[in-house]
């Protein structure tokens, strides 16, 4: 019984999707307000999703139809599964085992991988360029993002999310490991392909990137996957760096504060070209993350 609830309602399934839609609304509304606009109504993301689900789904010619249909499902499965291992809304993770941090990080990458494959599967030229860019960007942000999440793990001495969360509860690692925190935050923007790192789906260059050919249900799944991942990412960073998310209040306050920063970046910074993105990640951010990592290891060596 507990399993069914965990899988279908909380924290997996319904809850995380609803939270995703709610956070998407906050995201869009905040952005609109920052641009001096009114912005969407509260049910907008829900209406968008429902509409996409009931719309005709066109499978273009010349694509592998099975892959085309299955990829969106895999893309959504990744984040939904990851939701089971991440502390959400003030509750302990539903499942936990030693090393689940690594599994979660891989699960979170599934969406990006599927997007890339989806783009490569269609013969549309915008999709192909989008897929190339998506995967290029993934190689750029994935390493620093991983390093930044490992910082707290090293301090804790565990690879288990619940243990790390318990250790960081109350202690704000954002102050002791500021670089790691920043890298994690920027990494999340890259992961979600949000502006300014939205070159993979830059509308003015390549229409909608890898997902140009998707319509209806497939698009809805990718969309849901992304919003879900937004909540998971925010929650993970809040748990690791902002002193834990053990109460619902702390969870919402901290994740929304992080979202505010994300939206601020979105509103204030112009899009980077893909070469600039990659350059930035490897030349600066990865180096910084490594430096932070070394500091943490040395400090542990000296102290412990």
């Amino acid at each position: 019984m507990r399993e069914i609830v965990a899988l279908l309602f909380f924290p997996g399934g319904l809850f995380i999707m609803a939270a995703g839609l709610a956070y998407e609304w906050v995201d869009r509304k905040l952005l609109a307000r920052m641009q001096n606009r009114l912005g969407p109504r509260w049910f907008q993301p829900l209406a968008d999703t429902v509409k996409l689900l009931i719309k005709e789904e066109i499978v273009p010619e010349d694509v592998h139809a099975a892959i085309f249909t299955l990829l969106p499902i895999f893309a959504l499965t990744g984040p939904l599964t990851a939701a089971l291992y991440i502390p959400l809304a003030g509750f302990e993770p539903a499942y936990s085992f030693s090393g689940d941090l690594i599994v979660t990080i891989y699960l979170l990458s599934l969406l990006t991988l599927c997007t890339g494959l989806a783009g490569a599967n269609t013969l549309d030229r915008f999709s192909l360029v989008g897929a190339t860019r998506t995967l290029t960007q993934m190689f750029a942000y994935e390493a620093p993002f991983l390093l930044s999440l490992l910082g707290p793990a090293i301090v804790t001495g565990s690879w288990q999310i619940s243990e790390i969360a318990a250790y960081t509860n109350g202690s704000w690692l954002a102050f002791s490991q500021p670089i790691g925190f920043l890298v994690a935050l920027i990494g999340l923007i890259g992961k979600l392909e949000m502006p300014p790192f939205d070159a993979p789906e830059a509308e003015t260059e390549i229409v909608a990137g890898a997902l140009t050919e998707y319509s209806g249900r497939g698009l809805a799944f990718f969309h849901l996957g992304k919003t879900t991942e937004l909540v998971l990412g925010l929650s993970l960073i809040a748990a690791f760096y902002l002193g834990g998310v053990t109460t619902p209040l702390a969870f919402f306050a901290k994740t929304l504060a992080l979202l505010f920063i994300l939206v601020g970046m979105k509103a204030l910074v112009a899009r980077l070209r893909i070469d600039q993105t990659v350059g930035l990640w490897w030349r600066y951010v990865a180096m910084l993350a490594l430096a932070q990592w070394l500091v943490v290891i040395l400090w542990r060596g000296v102290a412990g």
């Binding site: 920052m34 001096n36 030229r125 360029v129 300014p196 070159a199 260059e205 390549i206 112009a270 980077l272």
Partner: protein, 562 residues
Amino acid sequence: MSTTNSPLHQAQILLEPWMENFNQPEPNRLDVVIASQDLLSAAGALETNHWGYLAAITGLDHGVEQGSMEALYHFCTGPVTLTFRVSLSRENPVVSSLYEIIPAAIVHERELQEMFGILVENIPDPSHLLLPDDWPEGVYPLREGFDSAELAQDYQPDLTEKTDRQDGCFVIPIGPQHPALKEPEHFEFTVDGEIVTGASVRLGYAHRGIEKATEQRTWVQNLYLLERICGICSHIHATAYCLGVEQLAGVTVPPRAQAIRELVAELERIHSHLLWFGVAAHEAGFDTLFMYSWRDRETVMDILEEISGNRVNYSANVLGGVKFDITDEQKETIRSGLNFLDERLHHYMNVVTKDTAFLQRTRGIGVMTREQADQLGTLGPTARASGVERDIRVEAPYSFYNDYPIPMVVETAGDLEARFVVRLKELLETNKTIRDILDRMPEGDLKTRMPRRIKAGETISRVEAPRGELFYFIKSNGSDKPARIKVRAPTLCNMASVVTLAIGHQLADIPVILAGVDPCFSCNDRAVAVKPQNNGWQIWSWEQLRQHGIDFYQNKDLVKPE
């Protein structure tokens, strides 16, 4: 007069060996009759002495009875226009291409060729510039006797999918429907990874056939037809037309009407530049800037709607004057709007010159040197950002620009940043001029009587549209309908630079470079469409492209052999 005469006098001396005949229909114009075999040498003489630039080529069909056609090559410098008149037989019209001497001539020549059936020898790319791909052979829309109804009858749209994939190259199509283009044009960029190695343009999606249509409508009706060549610079098209027609009719427009015309033209410039500013920011992926600049643009849209009743096609002009007056109350509204805009413009100037992330997308991108700008025949702010001093409002003040002068704004860097800066600075100057007009607006009538039939004659009207020089050639044969109206919009001349600049850049830079010249395809095609002439680069052929790629970049890696 001496300033006007000396360049023309100079030209007369230069052209002495080939000149068969000449006359000076207006003080600032010189018509020179040149035999078609001498065309190249005569144009070469001008070019080697750096006399002016080729502004347009107009075709004229004198009809079956006379059995002759004429090609008019208009060269401009400062306020004067020099026209080569080349007579051709109607049965076998042939001229040689000026491409070797003036690369920018190719668009004009291709237009001449497809619209009149004048064979241009040695033209590098003889394909259609504006007309659809499935246009019937041997039908030339601007020749006399062309019947559009006949054409429409047996028109069957060609619905087969056209594949534009090149062997061995990866081609990114942009357009005709693409988020980066609000207008339908088709670009193809060949990319190697993210680097653009080749580019081509297909114009003509917005070609409507306006130039032909002008010949079937009355002088009054044409005013509105021409105003709708372009929705962004509508007023300036109508003004250019009015100035020309009034010149032909020998009518003087009351000073207050002229002041109002200039006022609306400058307000339109604000609207156009702010619009461009927002769109360019959007192309660069800076949506917040887009939203704010369009929010501020609403200020000027409100002003225009209040004074004219329309937000976009203001219909401010009538032949012989303007439709509406500016009340004192409206003057106040305009002043307060300008104060707000001044403040915002300074802020935007700060953003485009200081914002690091934005500068990464603009500084040093799409650099066009002075020489390139000159050679490619660019006009308007695009040319001025590269240090080419070309602004009709200053060089050849028309209407009321003598009384309310405006300074020329020139930048030298030639990159995208300079194009932003030039336009914003121009707006600050524009605001000053508008205030000047409001302060010293003359009293008087709003219009004079215009005859319904216009005296026979030819005239040229040049004005500075927001995007550069707009060129009108108007010919009347004394009836209530024009005999020929030729429109050359600035974008036609500027498109060439996009294709050239694109090569070697990142794919991501293309939309911004494209936006950087502020292309207006409706002008282009429409205008082009409007008349036979103007449009643009339908394309550079691959040969041309390669040639330019090699010339300008000298980097063989970037230009793939076919």
